[in-house]
Amino acid sequence: MSSPILSVHDLSRRFGGVIANDRVSFDVAPGELLSIIGPNGAGKSTLFKSISGVQQPGGRRTPDSGRVLLEGRDITGLPAHRLCRLGLALVFQETEPLGGMTALQNVAIGALVRVESYHEALDQGRVTLERVGLSHRAGDLVADLTLAERKRLEVARALATEPKLLLLDETMAGLTLTEVQQAVALVRSINGTGITVILIEHVLEAVMAVSARIIVLDRGRTIADGTPSVVVRDKAVIEAYLGSALTDA
């Protein structure tokens, strides 16, 4: 494997007596499309937040122990805006729109991290909206968009920051089957342009189809790490997450 774009070393995070992440470690190669899955409460979102510099409940950014490296540089505990500048973008599980602004403004503000001029950022925003198929919504307020469009917009906003690594936290949750298929196509096309993508997902079909590698978390620990076909046959995974239905099949 070429030198990893992201390395997570022994990351642990406790909330009182609950261990949300227990010495999680993995490397991500540049250009990879990786999925992290796990049942509810497995610690996926906590992991996402520890990597991305978003403040955790209790006001702390830093994990209890462990390190996160982006292209070999220690980024543990750096604030999200610094990480964004370094090329790590994230899309939240709950949509976090700039609600009073238009779709174009949302994306242009993302582009502002790379350019000084707002007018230039608007031009780039138009290109990015085109890329995700939302050009026709450019002038509309975010509040008027459908859920699928809002999620797409958040991806566009993250893309506008020109990331090397994109973290998507359950962006497909709550979408219809067609919308999930469209989202999968979008994720593929993003990854196709050379951006490394980490999906944190619940929608299993999407993950199986789209990623070459899956990491499974359960109760804060990594219980499997491999190709989809290997992971679905893994005993620990079947017990912890997939349930008996797949065992029978």
């Binding site: 978003v54 700039l98 609600g99 602004m101 242009a108 502002l112 000084e116 007018h119």
Partner: protein, 325 residues
């Protein structure tokens, strides 16, 4: 950023250019030939335009509603007075330094106070203004204490009106020119969603501090101009919460978060207040209260957004009409 400012100014439609030119001409001419009573009234209005426009930057655009904005005005007045009385500085220098001093004060308090948001920030700013008032009242050697500080009258009403008018006009044009720039768009983003803003690379702490510093500088100057003209100020006037409440009322009246709301607000509000006072001297405050209640009921977002919506409706009706033909 400078390129954006230049472009925004270049994009300004010609009716607005004419309006700005006319306002400039009026301020200069009226300072020369106007009646002192109206100069004084207009100076008060212009002072509130400065206070409202600057409050609007931190509270309307950035979304951090401050209940202590008067503190910057009061500090500006005191700094100007102290620099003139104690250091015998020429008044123009004292004025500029008081603007810079007030901005520096804002920079100093920005880090702890902007960690708070919502109602906590509002109350912290209120408490700050009260604390500064107490501090000024007790530092008798420097500030003259509760009795206030006196100057020789250095600036006549005509010149004070000219300075305040130019300051107000300059600030409003500047706020307009800053609209489509990285700074102000980042501030709008912060007021919309701070978490999202941070995640797309906006250094929210730094941007909020910049907004607070910007919004402190201009009241500092306005306070300085005020005391150069009145030649006296005491802590009760300088840090009067009534001024902050007026600022909030007028800005909400005109349209919070807009460029022209903080301009229209003081004009309409002061004109209304003066008229009611002249016509109904005994009940004018009650009538003003009724007017405010009516406004909040019928134009909850203020005059500017209501005008904008009416204009949009009119133009859409016109285009529908044209389509029908």
């Amino acid at each position: 950023m400078l390129r954006d400012i230049a472009r925004n100014l270049a994009d300004l439609a010609w009716p607005w250019r004419i309006a700005i030119g006319a306002a400039l001409l009026f301020v200069v001419l009226y300072a020369m030939i106007g009646a002192p009573y109206y100069q004084s009234l207009l100076m008060s209005i212009c002072m509130y335009v400065v206070l409202c426009s600057s409050w609007n930057v931190i509270s309307g655009i950035t979304g951090y509603v401050s209940f202590g904005h008067v503190v910057f005005w009061g500090l500006g007045a005191y700094t100007t007075a102290i620099l003139i009385v104690k250091l015998q500085l020429p008044w123009p220098l004292a004025l500029v330094l008081s603007g810079i001093g007030t901005a520096a004060f804002a920079a100093l308090i920005s880090y702890p106070i902007l960690k708070l948001s919502g109602v906590y920030f509002a109350i912290a700013m209120l408490a700050l203004a009260e604390a500064v008032q107490v501090l000024v009242s007790y530092s008798r050697g420097l500030t003259g204490g509760g009795g206030g500080i006196y100057l020789r009258p250095l600036v006549g009403t005509d010149l004070a009106f000219l300075l305040m008018g130019l300051l107000a006009l300059g600030l409003v044009v500047l706020v307009y020119a800053l609209q489509s720039t990285k700074l102000v768009q980042s501030l709008y983003a912060i007021s919309n969603n701070e978490l999202a803003s941070e995640s797309i690379g906006i250094p929210t702490t730094r941007r909020k501090a910049q907004a607070l510093i910007f919004s402190a500088f201009f009241p500092g100057l306005a306070g300085g101009i005020y005391i150069l003209n009145t030649a006296f100020i005491d802590p009760k006037t300088a840090f009067d919460i009534g001024i902050t409440l007026n600022i909030i009322l007028m800005t909400v009246f005109g349209g919070i978060g807009t460029v022209l709301g903080p301009v229209i607000g003081p004009f309409v509000f002061m004109a209304l207040s003066e008229t009611l006072w002249a016509q109904f001297p005994f009940v004018h405050r009650a009538l003003l209260g009724v007017a405010i209640v009516l406004l909040v009921l019928f134009l909850p977002r203020g005059i500017m957004p209501a005008l904008r919506m009416a204009a949009a409706r009119l133009s859409s009706r016109r285009s529908v009409g044209m389509n029908a033909q």
